[in-house]
Each structure stands twice: as C-alpha cells, then as structure tokens.
C-alpha cells in the first residue's frame, strides 16, 4: 500500500484528479465509462449489506454508478463539501434537494433573481406540494430577514442572479438562515466552484446545472447537489431528515451517517424514488469539462470583461449589467465572493426595443442564437422575443427585463472576433442594414 501524503492539493490539481484513482483491475488512466445498469453481487451477504446501507456497494445505476460517482466526488471536492449526488438535470437536482428536506406546510424564502426555470419550479412545487413560498429582493438582507416565518425551512439564492447580475452577499444571508436554524442553499451554476465556493462563506447546500460551464461544451444535460456536512439536521426542525426512515426499516440517516446523512438520504431515498439519475456517459463528458474548468473560466471571464467594456462605450447600448465592471454596484461583493471574475453570462439593454433586439440577433454571424449558457461557443438570446415572448412590457419590467434586453454567454473565441460581430449587430439594431461583411465597419 503506497503511503499517501495528506497534502492539501490545489484547485487545478483536484479539478483533474479528485474522485478518481486509476482503475484497480486495468490501470486505465482515463475515467472508465461504466455503461451498466447493474452490478453482480459477490454473495448474498454482500448484497444484503449494500441494500441495508451497511457497506458502500453498487447495486443499480439509478442510485449509484462508478463513473457518475467520480463526477460527484470531484464536484463535492472542488466545492469543499462532504460529497455530491448527481442528477439528470440541474432542475432535477434542485427538486431532489427540496424533496429531501421539505414537507407540506414548510416555508421557503427564495431570491427573486433566481434562474427563471428555478422560479417556475418553485411556484409549481409550492402549489402541488403545499409549500409556502416568498420571493425576496436578494440585494436586501432586511428583505431576507423580514420574510422569515416560524416554519421557514430553507433560504435559497444564486451566486450571480439573472438577468440583473445580482451578486449575493452569501455570508450575510447564511447568517440570517442559521439564526433560525435553517440551511442556505445556493445555485452556483454561473460562478462554478472555480470562481466562488459558497460553502466557504457559510452556505450549506450548493446546486449546479452541470449543463453549463462544468460541462462547458454544450453537449450534455445534468446537475449535481453538494452539501457541506456541517448543518445540524438534528436541530429538531427537520424530522424528515433526522427521524427513523420508513423506507429503511427505521434507519436514522443523520444519526447513523452524521455529516454524510443528508447526502445519503438524498441518494438512497430521493434519487432512488424520483429516479432522475445522470447517465454515465454524460458524467464522463462533465469530467472532461471539469479537467479544464480553471483554464476555461479564466478565458470566459477575460472575454466577458472585454465584451462588457466594449458594449459599455457603445452609443446603441443603454446599460450593461455585468457585475465584473469596476463601476458595477456589485463591485464590493464581486471583490469578496468572485475575486477571479464575475462569470461570463450577463445582460445588456439595447436602445430601440423589441425590433432592435430582433435585428441585432438576426445580423450576428458568430454568436449562436439559442437558449443555453456556459458553452465554449458564444451564445445570445433576446428574451422579449423568445423565452419571455408571452409577457407584455409591464410584465417584462417586473422580471427585470426590457424590450431591448439581450443576454450573452461569452465563449472562448478570439475576443476581437466577438466584438467585431457585436459591432455589426449593433449597427443593424440601430437601423443600418448589414447584409454582409462588405458593409461591416472594421
């Protein structure tokens, strides 16, 4: 047995190695794709021990898979948590995180600047599962405090909000949550653990859409939940986590598994019962993504800042909402929580409304018009004519979107090319027709 030196390895080292030791049988250096539904038991006694959770063993890929586990451990490690549980999508991960700790009648306080799909999921869940729900302005710590009720069981915010680029004061909101014995959950999709590790600032649960920067290449849908392992689920407010489980012959997850109890329950009950497991092949692609996460995020951030600066000085642009700009109202929070950069997804407001927005999008040559973020390729969408098409101008305003709002996800291309393309689009938006490169201002 090789002696292991307990060195605290750096983030980039762990992005490449954490969660994987080379395969003991073949020595395969890459993470093998275990494309199997199930696993042969050594003997009946082992099988029983696995199903009783007395031994860490593989039973069925809906609940665990070695390729997926490598991905889960790697994200858990990079976030500084007790571990991770992966899901078929970010929304599946988020729903399972709720399902594990909430029961009908519980109250959730959530940021109004959460990703739109999260807001919709929370609204539907609150109706269907009888949860109480309050959305608050994430920038106001008083708003978080004022929303608390006796039955508040979860506070939920996002590192970098949408579309306003709100940077959450994670530590302050964590203090509010812990003051009433509730956990703080953070959607860290836009920052990735490379730019921000919410658990270091007191968050208890971190969720990701791995579809975005973690995967990084727009190939796979997936999500993951990380838990810090320090929240006291036995504080009397979470009997659904701490009491003996009917699904496991009376096993008390938090008592038995301690700092791993929530994650064990998330896997052995929520993932098992809801069934939204991540495919091993997608986990493999996410692992490839994670290996280059630090390199990619540095470049994403560099390009995003370059694009934001260009837009900021352009006369056809009314407002740029990139928190990484030095004059952003979020600059102090960026300095504290996002010192390596404020991500690469942000919105800006175009003068001229819906028509200008459509003309802008249609005249771009390099930016892909689609509904995703976090790809190596630069992406663009005009919410007023796509994702938020059903809303009138008043409703758009309530969502923090104007008719001319454009959302960008800045990719890894040559910055000059991205700016060149945007310049053409802005010219088109302002009214001048752009039919080809001959009319482009160099």
């Amino acid at each position: 047995m090789t002696e292991i030196d307990p060195r605290a390895f750096g983030f980039d080292t762990r992005a490449v190695h954490a969660g994987q030791r080379p395969d003991p049988y073949t020595g395969a250096r890459a993470v093998p794709i275990f494309q199997t539904t199930s696993y042969v038991f050594e003997d009946a006694e082992s099988a029983a021990a696995y199903f009783n959770l007395q031994e860490y063993g593989n039973t069925y890929t809906r609940i665990m898979n070695p390729t997926v586990a490598t991905f889960e451990e790697r994200v858990g490690n990079l976030e500084g948590g007790a571990g991770g549980v992966a899901f078929a999508s970010g929304l599946a991960a988020q729903a399972a995180a709720f399902f594990t700790m909430l029961v009908p009648g519980d109250h959730v306080v959530a940021s109004s600047a959460l990703y739109g799909g999260s807001v919709t999921q929370l609204k539907h869940l609150s109706r269907k599962l009888s949860l109480e729900l309050t959305f608050v302005d994430p920038d106001s710590i008083d708003a978080w405090k004022d929303a608390l009720r006796e039955n508040t069981k979860l506070l939920y915010g996002e590192t970098i909000g949408n579309p306003g680029g709100n940077v959450l004061d994670i530590q302050a909101v964590a203090d509010v949550a812990h003051g009433i014995g509730a956990p703080l959950m953070i959607d860290n999709t836009f920052a990735t653990p490379y730019l921000c590790r919410p658990i270091e600032f007191g968050a208890d649960i971190v969720v990701h859409s791995a579809t975005k920067f973690i995967g990084g290449h727009g190939t796979s849908i997936g999500g993951v939940v990380v838990e810090g392992g320090t929240f006291d689920w036995s504080n009397g407010r979470y009997p659904i986590v701490s009491d003996p489980s009917l699904a496991y012959h009376g096993l008390a997850f938090h008592d038995t598994f301690g700092m791993y109890g929530y994650l064990m329950k998330l896997r052995a009950e929520s993932l098992r019962d809801l069934g939204g497991c991540l495919s091993p092949f997608n986990a493999f692609l996410f692992l490839l993504g994670l290996e280059t996460l630090p390199l990619r995020m540095d470049r994403h951030v560099e390009n995003a800042l370059g694009v934001a600066r260009f837009l900021q000085q352009h006369p056809a642009v009314e407002r740029v909402r990139y928190p990484g700009l030095p004059d952003s109202p979020y600059a102090p929070l960026v300095a504290k929580y996002l010192p390596k950069g404020a991500g690469a997804v942000f919105a800006f407001d175009l003068a001229g409304g819906r028509e200008a927005g459509q003309r802008f999008i249609q005249s771009l040559q390099l930016w892909s018009h689609l509904a995703n973020v976090g790809d190596a390729k630069s992406l663009v969408i005009h919410p007023a004519s796509t994702t938020h098409r059903q809303l009138n101008d008043d409703e758009l305003a309530a969502a923090g979107i104007s008719a001319g709002t454009i959302r960008l996800s800045v990719g890894l291309e040559t910055l000059d090319d991205l700016v060149w393309d945007l310049e053409r689009g802005l010219a088109a938006a302002a009214g001048s027709r752009v039919n080809g490169v001959a009319e482009v201002v160099a």
Binding site: M1, T2, E3, I4, P6, F9, T13, R14, H17, A18, G19, R21, P22, D23, P24, Y25, G27, A49, N52, Q54, E55, Y56, G57, N58, M64, P66, V68, A69, T70, F71, E72, E73, G76, N77, G81, A82, G83, G84, V85, A86, T230, D232, S234, P244, H249, G250, L251, A252, H254, D255, T256, F257, G258, M259, Y260, G261, L263, M264, R267
Partner: protein, 175 residues
Amino acid sequence: MTDVGIVCALPDRNAAAEVSQYQDPIVIRQILLTARTIAIVGLSSNALRPSNFVGFYLQRHGYRIVPVNPREKEALGQPAFASLSDVPFPVDVVDVFRAPQFVPEVAKEAVKIGAKALWLQFGVISPEGARIARDGGLQVVVDRCMKVEHARNLGRMHWLGFNTGVVGAQRASTL
C-alpha cells in the same frame, strides 16, 4: 441510552481545534493498516444503532470485533465483555461509543490492557481521555468515525460520491 449511538453525531466545532492533533491522517492510516483486533466499547446488538453499523462494517473488512458492553451478551456473533479488563486476549484498538465523561476511565483501562490505539468516534470528544492514552503510549484518534476513515482511505466510500479527499495517481485498492 445516551451513552451509545453517538458515532456520527456532528462534531462540536469549538472543540475541533483542540482535538485536531489527534486527527493525523498518517496515524489514522497506520492504525487501519496494522490493526487486527478492535474492541468496541458501547457496541449495541441493535442493527440500527450506529455502533452496530460500524462494527458490522469493520468485521466485514476482516477485523476481529470484540463487543465491550455490560448490557449485551453478544453482538455481531461475538460474545460481549463487561469491561476491557475482562477481554482475555490482546486488543489492538479500543474504539469508543460512550459519552465523553466516561472516556477517561476507558482510556485508563486501554492503557492497562496494553492496547496500541484509542479511537474516539464522531462526537466522543474527551481531551482528558486522549491525554491519558497518549501518555500511556497509545496512538490516539479523536472525533473521527472508524468506518468512515476506513472507507475513505482504503474502502469504497468514493463509490457513493462522497468527498474522500484522497488524491493520487496510483491504482485504487480493491477492498
């Protein structure tokens, strides 16, 4: 029953700094790799108790488990002893599932019977007990779960996506 079943209760973070000297990963690995016989003080015969979970797991991985609990006749198929002094053969590790106030007595006995290590489970934090064992020449681990540390360092904990913190380019073990 407050003196059993506190295996994986959350550690008292205020005491963590004081006990961190007893959480050396190299010592933990040495104990796990060299121990043969583990006396579990406070081992319950109830399969749902954390002490039973830990004992079952360690027994499965080849350690000889010795139940030490005056309230049990046997556990995990092994006859139980009322105290460490009653165990008629050498013990390598004394693994403790008792409330912290009982630990100094257990530590004195562990020294007396010539055990090589004293291991206090999650939440069993007794700086006094740890000192007694250390001064008696024992290796000491405090506020760590023996099952978790085995699974983290030598076992399959990574199969369930937990952060083992183990990073290396050598082949994984096949335990």
